[in-house]
């Protein structure tokens, strides 16, 4: 059993979504020339955005279920794959525009991918600009059990633990949906706390810092205490930063817990109980002995979930696992760990 938790279908442009937009919004998009919402989180032509052998002669990669089936599921031997669309609807400022485009993106994903390959599952993409509308979008789609999680971006306008977001988490728990936090930013804030960097390389590296902020926020605000059955999955996050972050959180939890009296479990316990991380990118040390130590620091073999991050160019060839992850650990990362993270994947085929 192998489940790929992070696959990115390519949206060719807004025109691809027009069939799923109400007439008035379609006309407005045409009149105003809203042709594309691809965000600078993944500029089309960087070497990272699409691996050379997955990049078509023209246009975006991974735009059809057939391509994803052949290049990703078949090629890596995955039984199931979870789609995480990254078309930049989260950056729209208007509540209404963001909501209709989120709905259109989700309906497009369902019609163009889920309906065409039974091995595919998907995220409900929401904009956090208006939490009530985000919850309404979850309610609209929750009955379709092929949606297994709700997707938000690591670079949010406010830290994700803050209480204005909690209705979203309540909806996740109500519908057995995981909360997925994916690399990328709404870009309401610059990619670093020091403002806007000069290079895309810095933007991309900065995702790791954003995930560290989000984990700290979710812990400190008590999201895991309020929603003990919520599963949080960090996607394309990296995970080698996790042990040192937990040590630092633990230090200040000890020193400052009067600020957050609800935090009754250590940060490491909370993560073991409720947070998971996708395998790719594995910002792992080249030395296998050091990787073994790192797994000791992680304190659990249940935290990682298999992912290729297709079609992003995180590795060459057909081996998605970094050297040093073998045998039984590989089986857990590919199967049991993923099933434990996603309640809906344990149900009979939808």
């Amino acid at each position: 059993m192998q489940i790929d938790c992070d696959i990115h279908p390519g949206t060719p442009g807004t025109a691809a979504l027009f069939a799923y937009l109400p007439q008035a919004w379609r006309e407005m998009s045409e009149v105003r020339g809203i042709t594309d919402l691809a965000s600078i989180n993944y500029p089309d032509n960087t070497p990272l955005t699409a691996r050379a052998d997955w990049r078509p002669a023209s246009g975006r990669p991974a735009t059809t279920a057939a391509l994803i089936g052949a290049q990703c599921l078949d090629a890596f031997g995955s039984d199931l794959g979870i789609l995480n669309p990254l078309f930049g609807i989260q950056t729209l400022y208007s509540d209404d525009l963001a909501a209709v485009y989120a709905s259109a993106l989700n309906d497009w994903t369902r019609a163009e991918f889920l309906e065409r390959d039974k091995r595919l599952r998907a995220s409900i993409v929401v904009s956090l600009e208006n939490i009530e509308m985000a919850v309404a979008e979850i309610e609209r789609l929750a009955a379709d059990r092929r949606f297994v999680q709700v997707l938000v971006l690591a670079g949010s306008a406010r830290p994700l633990g803050r209480r204005n977001h909690w209705p979203l988490y309540e909806a996740c728990v109500r519908h057995q949906l995981a909360l997925a936090i994916h690399a990328g930013s709404e870009l309401r804030n610059p990619p670093t706390a020091l403002g806007w960097p000069s290079y895309y390389l810095e933007d991309y590296v900065a995702n790791a810092q954003a995930f560290q902020v989000q984990l700290t926020s979710l812990f400190a605000e008590g999201v895991f205490n309020k929603f003990p059955t919520l599963r949080v999955v960090m996607l394309e996050s990296g995970w080698t930063w996790l042990p040192p972050l937990l040590w630092r959180m633990s230090k200040y939890w000890h020193g400052l817990r009067f600020e957050i009296p609800w935090a009754d479990r250590s940060p490491a316990e909370v993560v073991r109980d409720q947070v998971r991380f996708s395998l790719t990118p594995a910002d792992a040390p080249a030395d296998p002995a050091r990787l073994q130590r790192l797994f000791e620091h992680l304190g659990s073999d249940e935290l990682l979930l298999f992912s290729t991050d297709y079609p992003h160019a995180q590795f060459e060839g057909a081996e998605a696992y970094p050297p040093g992850i073998d045998g039984a650990l590989r089986d857990k990362i590919g199967g049991a760990n993923v099933l434990a993270a996603y309640p809906r994947l344990n149900e009979a085929a939808p």
């Binding site: 610059p190 000069s198 895309y200 790791a208 700290t216 926020s217 040192p244 972050l245 490491a268 040390p285």
Partner: protein, 356 residues
């Protein structure tokens, strides 16, 4: 508790003013009057204190109030007896965190920084031979900063140029290069201490609720600053520059280096000015001070990080008189060789700062 080393260089001690009037001897009349009327306006909200309230007054130990009165860290005799003598500190580096750097009025910022440098040299270092000062610079005005560095270059009372971590642009940005050029010219290390007010939210996901998050967050902010310094090519341009990250955490560094190297390998067409792998610059140009030491369940894991980063890159710091002070007798609570301990407590700092 382990035996205390004979030689301990403390790379992070915070002297305080009793009040801003302590700086008056070195300020023009106009700035004294300006401060009285307008204060020192920074990129933050409150007249006194920061946006995130500390865990205790002045973020300092409750036992560190001087007997003669005044805030913690404001009395040289008490700092001498409570810290330097009691903890066996042979050399201590002063890092003043007094409103000056990051003050929005750049001329006011420069005047305050200059006064603080005089105050350190004449009120502290001249009276206590174990202490060294840091050149506080108005870093949002890089040209004025270079002038301030030039003013003290060659004065052995000063150990380094001091910046705060939250610069208004990423720290390696070209606008700050006059600071690095002047430090390199003066053969002075650049120390970057956590805190400051960039004008942006303290995280890339907006403002968190708690002081706890601000404190954990310094690790992420410092990572972003270091990434910028490397990727902008500061260490390519000034290959001998020594950078010291102070109170920034360091256990994050091995994972960050792996990530930077991997992402650079994919995206290096964007940064042809980098001739080395990012981690090679970091291993050549960067040192870290130890406080606040993280607290893993198993202390040996901290030892793993020390060995991965290299015992030649880490330097002891106490953060006296702040509340999360690290005691030198309790800093290394995992197996470590005598040579490694000697490097950590003194030899690395003596090399980086050129102390005899």
């Amino acid at each position: 508790m382990t035996e205390r080393p004979a030689d301990i260089v403390d790379c992070d001690i915070h002297p305080a003013v009793r009040s801003m009037a302590d700086l008056d001897p070195w300020l023009e009349r106009r700035w004294i009057e300006h401060f009285r009327q307008y204060g020192a306006l920074r990129n933050q909200h409150y007249v006194a204190g920061g946006g995130y309230h500390k865990s205790q007054p002045n973020a300092s130990r409750r036992d560190a109030y001087p007997p003669e009165g005044g805030p913690q860290g404001s009395s040289l005799p008490f700092l001498r007896s409570q810290h330097l003598d009691q903890n066996g500190i042979t050399v201590g580096i002063l890092n003043p965190l007094i409103s000056s750097q990051g003050v929005r009025n750049l001329q006011h910022s420069a005047a305050l920084c200059r006064a603080i440098n005089h105050w350190q040299a004449e009120r502290w270092v001249d009276s206590e031979p174990r202490l060294r000062a840091s050149i506080v610079v108005p870093y949002e005005d890089p040209e004025a900063s270079a002038v301030e560095i030039g003013r003290w270059a060659g004065d052995r009372r000063f150990a380094q140029v001091l910046l705060l971590s939250r610069t208004s642009f990423p720290t390696g940005n070209k606008r700050y290069w006059p600071i690095f050029a002047a430090a390199a010219e003066a053969n002075l290390p650049v120390g970057i201490h956590a805190f400051g007010n960039s004008g942006w939210p303290v995280s890339s996901a907006g403002w968190p609720s708690f002081y706890l998050e601000e404190m954990v967050g310094h690790a992420q902010t410092s990572q972003s600053g270091l990434v910028s310094l490397v990727v902008e090519g500061v260490f390519e341009r000034w290959p001998a520059l020594k950078l010291v990250l102070i109170e920034s955490g360091f256990t994050w560094a091995p994972a960050l280096m792996a990530r930077l190297d991997r992402d650079w390998a994919i995206l290096k067409s964007e940064v042809p000015h980098l001739r080395l792998k990012p981690s090679e610059y970091i291993r050549r140009n960067v040192w870290w001070t130890s406080q606040p030491l993280d607290e893993p369940d198993n202390k040996r894991w901290l030892g793993d990080i020390f060995s991965w980063l290299g015992w030649d890159r880490l330097m002891f710091s106490s953060d006296y008189p702040h509340w999360d002070f690290d005691d030198p007798a309790r800093a290394i609570m995992f197996p470590a060789g005598d040579d490694d301990r000697a490097r950590f407590f003194a030899a690395n700092a003596r090399f980086v700062y050129g102390f005899a």
